[in-house]
Subunit: 475 residues, 2 copies
């Protein structure tokens, strides 16, 4: 379970495959101006929010406007054994969008229609380029909403591909629980459907769940059917400060164990509150803080809030601040939403490496507190936020990208954190995915046998290894 | 989407593979008296609750006492290309346990230990032979419970293998949502682990969800880590009668669409109430009936009940009967629990063929009412119960097993029902699995491309096709 010697932080060895001119010509012929080889366009499609920045961009970008476009692009690429990388918003944190083996990018941003809203069934079907905010804007008059919120205004195709989650997952689950059905272009360019709009099914292998989280390595998602939810009758948000991280975390553990159906419970450490105050002039107490949100009926929300306040008080929680109107809630949540940018701006020119461990909630305090001690001892600046109701938290180590030593320190801290999380029965990634950065961690976590099972599936479904190759594992 | 010409009702052609005497000798040598070839033992392991009864039993039964036992039995079988069928309680309704291609049965009933209870994390890890009632008995003093209740006291390994659910799924989800991690003996006899105890993860392919619902065709489950839940502070049950099935179903649709977190909502039609009255002398109104259960805080439960009562009243629901003590609740639920046996006993010597369609809830009334009309017109006796909060319901056609004509009528009704459910965006099986009986339906539902993807995975992970072959699809 110890991983300190695996060089996961290195940019993977680039094994660029040849992209024949004949393929580019065929793409241009099929897609006309919707196939671009302009350097600026390729470069924009050759990066994401990860700290990998030295990979050459894809050889061409196809702007797909339909499932048929995607299928045709995949078939053409397959004829030349050329990799295909689906692209939408580019908000991956793990290098998913980087053309480590070369190839072409398929941009699905123009596939951005909400295809159907079934308000009665609480389902919606969208094209993969629809973003979560766009979806919520589209359905807001129905009294329904889509809860999964990974922070970035990510595309729903990308969120499905990485099994994303975020602040609301403690109550509403992740993309794993909220994707009901998919349309997929397979490695052979065939179009298949997985799942139905029925809420449950025992009809054969769960291909939907296999594709969710497969990071583009088994096909290109071209349609997503999602669960949506009634906007709660009452929503109430609260901030509460604690004398220590431990006190905050112990409160969360009790809240969850009591079965309080809390909708969000986020931790921000004192240091990060300080950054947010400097950035947004919020004047918050510079102490560890929980941000919480309660959804339900007016009485249910009051009851939840009462229970939580009692638990927090027992752990020294104080300065509860409440918000019930949308405007007040937005103000309270500003601290959380701005944490990343506030942190980045606290050290001009820096780049953040984000950790993503998730542990069983009983081990959260152990995992967090030891890791805080290590991070403090390292001297590297960092921010710390967490979806602590799920046992998931993120350190963001703030590096000078030109200082290899800092990078090494950050990687060492991350390795120590992951090793600790695995020892405690957790996972190296709660919601960001494996991508390029966590391939070593995945081996440590799942074991060689399970990763070999993944590889066997990949080889069987993508024998030419053209679907986003070089991610999750080496084939 | 029409399937009327597929002969899914026929007992599949039996392609019994040879079970060499050398394998039996090797098993006897390895397992001693824990390997039995006694006819009575083999016959007991060669049937289940399905209507397939003419398949020869397995050639031997291995009583596994450990993961190592399972791995060794699988390895030995693999050496001789002999099929392996995991067996626990035998409560499958779809022929999962039948040795259609011959082979050996691995009985995991002796692997019946609860390995760990993590009350703080709301997780438990069990061996596959632990039944759901055994688990609930084991953890009852912790104030926690495992909600999935498929009716039968099924084994948790079997429930995972068939992606089972039942009456509580409307609130707590199915095995898909409640299995966190597995230990699995693969087709090569290797032991792997999938998932962790963390509540969420984006670490590679979701092997856990791939194995859940794979019906023993990808490996033998040897450990299951499950979510458990706090026993609600307050539980309240209610029966309500309605003037028509439609009125009952419309009420359910509104309850779900309003987001009421109802824990159970079961439909029983008037005819089935009649059977239950005759069987259990309950004196219930012989009208369509909803049985409901509310879980939560005392105030929350009251609020839910108030909302539901208002909705029901608008649809002519009356004669609400409430129960809050465990004894009263048990009495109310007797009607639901006894429906199957009451129906079977209403026609001595009959056998039930159970349907299992599940549709988006907005289509539930359409799907149900047309199918009731067809069943009534057929003259075949039947019972009708349903987990209607999920859009899932079961007709049980009560056949004379010696009358091929009745069987044909039942199969025709089932085909019409499945074709209708698929047209309405639903699935042929909400919770029983495909097994032998629904292979044609699966093709209709998922399409050739998706089933071929399943087959490709199966061939890659089980190249000798020894893991419960002949189920879900032909390889």
């Amino acid at each position: 379970m110890n991983a300190p010697d695996r060089p996961t932080h290195l940019v993977p060895e680039v094994r660029q495959r040849d992209v024949p001119a004949a393929l580019i010509a065929a793409l241009k012929s099929r897609f006309g101006s919707n196939c671009s080889t302009a350097l600026a366009v390729r470069e924009q499609h050759g990066r994401d929010e990860s700290a990998f920045v030295t990979i050459p961009p894809p050889a061409a970008v196809v702007f797909a406007e339909s499932t048929q476009d995607v299928a045709d692009a995949v078939k053409l690429a397959g004829e030349y054994d050329v990799p295909v990388i689906p692209f939408a918003v580019g908000s991956s944190l793990e290098g998913h969008l980087l053309a480590v083996e070369g190839g072409i990018s398929i941009d699905v941003n123009r596939m951005n229609r909400v295809l159907s809203v079934n308000a009665e069934d609480l389902t919606v079907t969208v094209q993969p380029g629809v973003t979560r905010k766009q979806l919520n804007e589209f359905i807001k008059d129905t009294g329904l909403f889509f809860p999964i919120d990974p922070g970035a205004d990510a595309s729903l195709g990308g969120m499905a591909a990485t099994r994303a989650s975020g602040t609301n997952a403690v109550r509403y689950g992740t993309m794993r629980e909220n994707v009901l059905a998919l349309e997929l272009v397979t490695a052979s360019g065939e179009v298949i459907r997985t799942g139905t709009r029925a809420k449950k099914s025992s009809a054969g292998y769960d291909l939907t769940r296999l594709i969710v989280g497969s990071e583009g390595t088994l096909g290109v998602i071209t349609e997503v059917t999602l669960r949506i939810y009634p906007i709660p009758e009452a929503i109430s948000a609260a901030i509460c400060s604690f004398p220590s991280i431990e006190a905050a975390v112990r409160s969360v553990i009790e809240i969850i164990q009591l079965g309080v159906p809390i909708a969000r419970v986020e931790l921000i450490d004192a240091n990060t509150v300080r950054m947010v105050n400097a950035h947004s002039k919020l004047g918050l107490r510079e102490e560890p803080m929980l941000l919480m949100e309660f959804h339900g009926s007016p009485e249910g929300v009051k009851e939840q809030a009462r229970t939580v306040q009692e638990i927090a008080a027992e752990h020294g929680g104080q300065a509860f601040e409440w918000a019930t109107t949308p405007e007040e809630r937005t103000r309270l949540w500003t601290a959380r939403h701005n944490a990343y940018f506030a942190a980045i701006q606290s050290r001009p020119g820096c780049r953040a490496i984000s950790t993503d461990t998730c542990v069983p909630i009983s081990r959260l305090a152990d995992c967090l507190l030891d890791s805080v001690r290590e991070a403090d001892a390292s001297g590297l600046p960092y921010f710390l936020v967490g979806h602590v109701g799920d046992g998931n938290f993120h350190f963001g180590y703030l590096l000078d990208p030109n200082d290899p030593k800092e990078r090494e320190v950050a990687e060492r801290l991350n390795h120590q954190l992951v090793a600790r999380a695995l020892r405690l029965g957790g996972t190296c990634t709660g919601e960001h995915g494996v991508g390029l950065h966590k391939m070593g961690f995945l081996l440590d976590e799942a074991g060689d046998g399970a990763v070999e099972m993944m590889r066997t599936i990949k080889r069987a479904l993508d024998p030419k290894n053209i679907m986003n190759p070089g991610k999750i594992f080496t084939v």
